[in-house]
Symmetry: C2
Subunit: 193 residues, 2 copies
Amino acid sequence: MELVTAVEKISELYFPLSQACKNDIEAAAQIIAIEKTNLLVKEGQIAQNMYFICKGSARAYYLKNGKDITDWFAFENDFITSINSFFMDIPSPHFIEVNENSVLLKLTKANITKLSEKHLDFERMGNLIITKTMLQLQQRIVSLQFETAQQKYENLLDIHPDITLKTQLSHIASYLGITLETLSRIRKLKSRI
Amino acid sequence: MELVTAVEKISELYFPLSQACKNDIEAAAQIIAIEKTNLLVKEGQIAQNMYFICKGSARAYYLKNGKDITDWFAFENDFITSINSFFMDIPSPHFIEVNENSVLLKLTKANITKLSEKHLDFERMGNLIITKTMLQLQQRIVSLQFETAQQKYENLLDIHPDITLKTQLSHIASYLGITLETLSRIRKLKSRI
DNA sequence: CGAGGCCTTGACCGCGGTCAATGCCCGTGG
DNA sequence: CCACGGGCATTGACCGCGGTCAAGGCCTCG
């Protein structure tokens, strides 16, 4: 069953969980299938759920003067939610959109809280995920601060070589903090080599 | 005594702690006085301690092609460490430098681990601090991605109006991802208004 | 008083943003 | 089945922000 394998995957990839913990996760979580371009969270809502991507991909974006700015991508085996909203219980500045027809594991905040209280290993895992996210953000700051548009694009390709197959270039551009036009020119240069 | 008031401050500012927890922190922590320009962590070391700034200020920086790039400032009532190193047990990419003659509360990682295991409220507080740091970093990404040099400087002034009194402009410039010259020109413009 | 840090100022220029036209692909309806 | 329209990407012309390089000013401290 899909739910069991998803939980197993989480335990393997993030933190080894006891069988009792895995069982409780399985009892609390749901598997849901979502179609391309559907929204998991809308701006202004309070994000109630954390999603783990079993299959597919998603992104968080916000509107800045009406422009769509991608803030975060999540692919298979990543977690995604509106972090501001989920952790601080404030209205989400982000939309979360599913980019492809996807299968997600969904955990409510209430369930996560209960699981954290009951299972030390679950709480540890949560800590670890937050810490890693923090370090990733820090890395991204370094990248944004001192790299050229081209370097930033190449870094992204190093991490996600096939991102251009699944993702609109305009979303990638705003994620990198550059314009669509600049990204297009960079890609042209690279293809000529 | 200084130690007791520092712990009280932490409890007030970050998360309400039980008296038992505060007592244990006081038993585990040390107050240390450090002179200006001393280093708390050097590049390549593994950061063993978390510091809370009772008085003074500090910064984390790294060397990029020999240039000093400020990554983080910490002022009174902030915590500071080399986050990569401290949380992941890897050699620090950062130096941590005390900017003024300062008084710090120091907690070793071993003590923090013990306190987290013993006191649920302490662990919660740790979680909260990490989460808030994560959200701050995320905010900084937005700022770096789409703001002009001037906007970034003004944002910093909103948060730390008196930062220029304590901090070299060259450190501020590298924190904002701009050059010292650009910062100087921005400041000139502002002073003429 | 001289030296060395730190900051300011000026001249120059290139990366990447903006605006606008064009190309390309695909879904929909006549 | 083709024609049209809309969304996305490409390309070109232009230009301004902010980087680089270099000179000079201003403290502070020995």
